[in-house]
């Protein structure tokens, strides 16, 4: 029998019926540990789902205690239409007894891990596409396209057992270079199809030494390389982070020592400069020096890629005693209330206010382009968010992706700037 990856073992363990073995390429029906859904704008979809479940005769959701709804995209509602959508979804969830995590709690991917809702070995199906983020704690986080009704009505989903790509990151970062630069660099090296339909594991000495915040950042970007799930093998750092958070029993799976990866990429992180993904592709990645001086109108720090405490700490340290350029809006959106509270206690939020940054409540913020920080045609943003697809933050606008340090340095300079000049 061929050897298995930890991600494959998780699927085999959750298969219905459960199986000792799973082979890449086969589809297995599973019951997830968590089905994370969105209190969305889409009123039509809420109406359809309600009508469809009634039509199918479904009165109880078989896994309702495993379903959690997050109000993270465009929340609180920025328009009357959005409010109507939110209301219909809340009504739907309440009617079926589904827990709604509302009121500025933050982005699903952060909250699931921070609150110990997800643990290592869990299969977390997330309606949102950055589901792989929870791979940082050794969970199988995957997004879904179709199959939502099946999860509501049957509590089941199907997963294609993935092949796995390994990226080993060796060495220490130079000053001014952060985990987000590594993630952008990896995206540039692998491209948008580098892990298409596969699992994506990060290992190597950089990962071993990296904080959990940066591990989440790495795993988050798996989505942008086409990965169905990201993975970092849990170690002492993971378990220490989980200890006060995850109170439920969990299983740390391990990859068989002779597992055959689909491909491996070795990257020396000591050679990396601050990185920028230029419009309009997340894998069109250049060293910051190649685009330095480009005018910007808005700088955004937030999202499930880079809305964590370490990101805000980096930003605050860099902007302390300086001001945002008068022609630039610097918007800072913590990823979760936990992050916002910790950043407030540490004084980072005051520092940001003093520098004239706009600090918002915890949510997806400007990332999805549906509220708080939409760009006008012709405007240019530098952002720590996940994607720079054409039109994402506003029709006719341009988005450069970079680390929190590069975003803040640029906000001070009024144009794309190298954070190393501000250390």
């Amino acid at each position: 029998m061929s050897s298995m990856h930890a991600l494959q073992k998780m699927i085999a363990a959750r298969a219905k019926p459960s199986r000792p073995h799973a082979v890449a390429g086969e589809y297995l029906e599973i019951e997830p540990d968590i089905f994370s859904v969105i209190v969305s704008f889409n009123a039509t979809e809420a109406r359809h789902l309600t009508a469809n479940l009634a039509d199918l005769g479904v009165k109880q959701l078989p896994i309702k205690h495993k379903i959690i709804a997050f109000s993270d995209h465009g929340s609180p509602a920025p328009s009357a239409a959005a409010a109507e959508g939110h209301k219909l979804w809340r009504d739907f969830f309440r009617a079926y007894g589904v827990e709604v995590i509302d009121g500025g709690a933050g982005i699903s991917h952060l909250v699931l891990a921070e609150r110990g809702i997800a643990g290592p070995g869990d299969i977390v199906i997330n309606q949102d596409s950055h589901a792989p983020t929870v791979g940082a704690i050794g969970a199988f986080g995957t997004s879904l396209g179709g199959g939502r009704m099946m999860l509501y009505a049957l509590g089941r989903y199907w997963i294609e057992v993935p092949k796995v790509v390994l990226v080993t990151l060796e060495g220490r970062l130079r000053p001014g270079v952060y985990g987000r630069d590594v993630a952008l660099h990896v995206n540039g090296v692998l491209g948008q199809q580098g892990a298409l339909g596969m699992g994506l594991e990060f290992g190597g000495s950089y990962v071993t030494e990296a904080s959990m915040d940066m591990r989440f950042t790495l795993c988050n970007m798996g989505t942008e390389m086409g990965a169905v799930s990201s993975y970092i093998q849990p170690d002492a750092t993971t378990l220490a982070w989980l200890q006060p958070r995850c109170k439920k029993p969990y299983t740390v799976f391990e990859t068989d020592h002779d597992f055959a990866y689909e491909s491996t990429h070795a990257i020396d992180v000591a050679a990396i400069e601050p990185q920028v993904a230029v419009p309009h592709a997340c894998d069109d990645v250049k060293p910051v020096s190649a685009v330095a001086g480009r005018r910007i109108d808005q700088a955004y720090l937030g999202s499930c890629a880079s809305g964590r405490l370490e990101d805000i700490a980096t930003a605050a340290a860099l902007i302390k005693g300086r001001k945002v350029h008068p022609d630039v809006r610097l918007i800072v959106t913590p990823g979760s209330r936990e992050v916002l509270m910790a950043a407030t206690r540490a004084g980072y939020i005051d520092t940001l206010h003093e520098a004239n940054a706009i600090v918002t409540n915890a949510n997806c913020g400007a990332c999805p382009g549906i509220h708080g920080g939409i760009l006008a045609p012709g405007e240019v943003a530098i952002s720590t968010s996940t994607r720079n697809n054409k039109g994402r933050m506003g029709k006719g606008a341009e988005i450069y992706l970079a680390s929190p340090a590069t975003v803040v340095a640029s906000a001070i300079a009024g144009c794309i700037a190298n954070p190393r000049d501000y250390l």
Binding site: G145, A153, Q192, K390
Partner: protein, 167 residues
């Protein structure tokens, strides 16, 4: 089953869901979304495509967010999407709504714009009726095929709930 249609070719790679259907149109009824289908890539496409036509695409078609861009494709009446490779979310989104989205490595080299092509979802052979060439598509798993043939996820669930109730 066998499906035939005229090919519209989008050879470029990484056409994301945002490019398939701009976010600005997501609130519109499916038919009206269809009028904006792929407009960022080819502004003339939606007005000229006829019901039953196929989209033939390059690698990683439908990548990016899980937004319901397939609704615009269905709204336009497209019979099937056949690509070098597809975003995983797009495949299941499409199947769930009863749209064939099939990956077929090599398709870009054997199909020209305007060719008539035939997809056999039993043998998973794709035949270019214009040139006579055939190529193998990647089979979809049985349950997804069943879902699409039944017209989507709801009908599949209805059939399955009935099967399970009958034991």
């Amino acid at each position: 089953m066998k499906l035939t249609g005229k090919a519209w070719k989008f050879a470029q790679e990484d056409i994301s869901t945002d490019l398939i259907r701009g976010k600005a149109w997501s609130h519109l009824p499916a038919k009206e979304q269809g009028a904006h289908c792929l407009e960022e890539v080819d502004p003339a496409f939606a007005a000229q495509a006829a019901p039953g036509d196929f989209i033939v695409a390059g690698k990683n078609f439908g990548c990016g967010s899980s937004t319901a861009a397939h609704v615009a494709v269905i709204g336009l009446g497209i019979g099937a999407v056949i690509a070098e490779s597809l975003g995983k979310l797009f495949i299941t989104n499409a199947a769930s709504a009863g749209l064939w989205a099939v990956s077929c490595p090599g398709i870009i080299d054997v199909v020209n714009a305007g060719d008539r092509i035939e997809l056999d979802t039993a043998s998973w052979q794709l035949r270019n009726l214009t040139s006579g060439k055939t190529i193998a598509a990647n089979p979809l798993p049985g349950f997804l095929g069943e879902m699409i043939e039944l017209g989507g996820e709801k009908n599949y669930l209805r059939a399955r709930l009935a099967r399970e109730a009958a034991g």
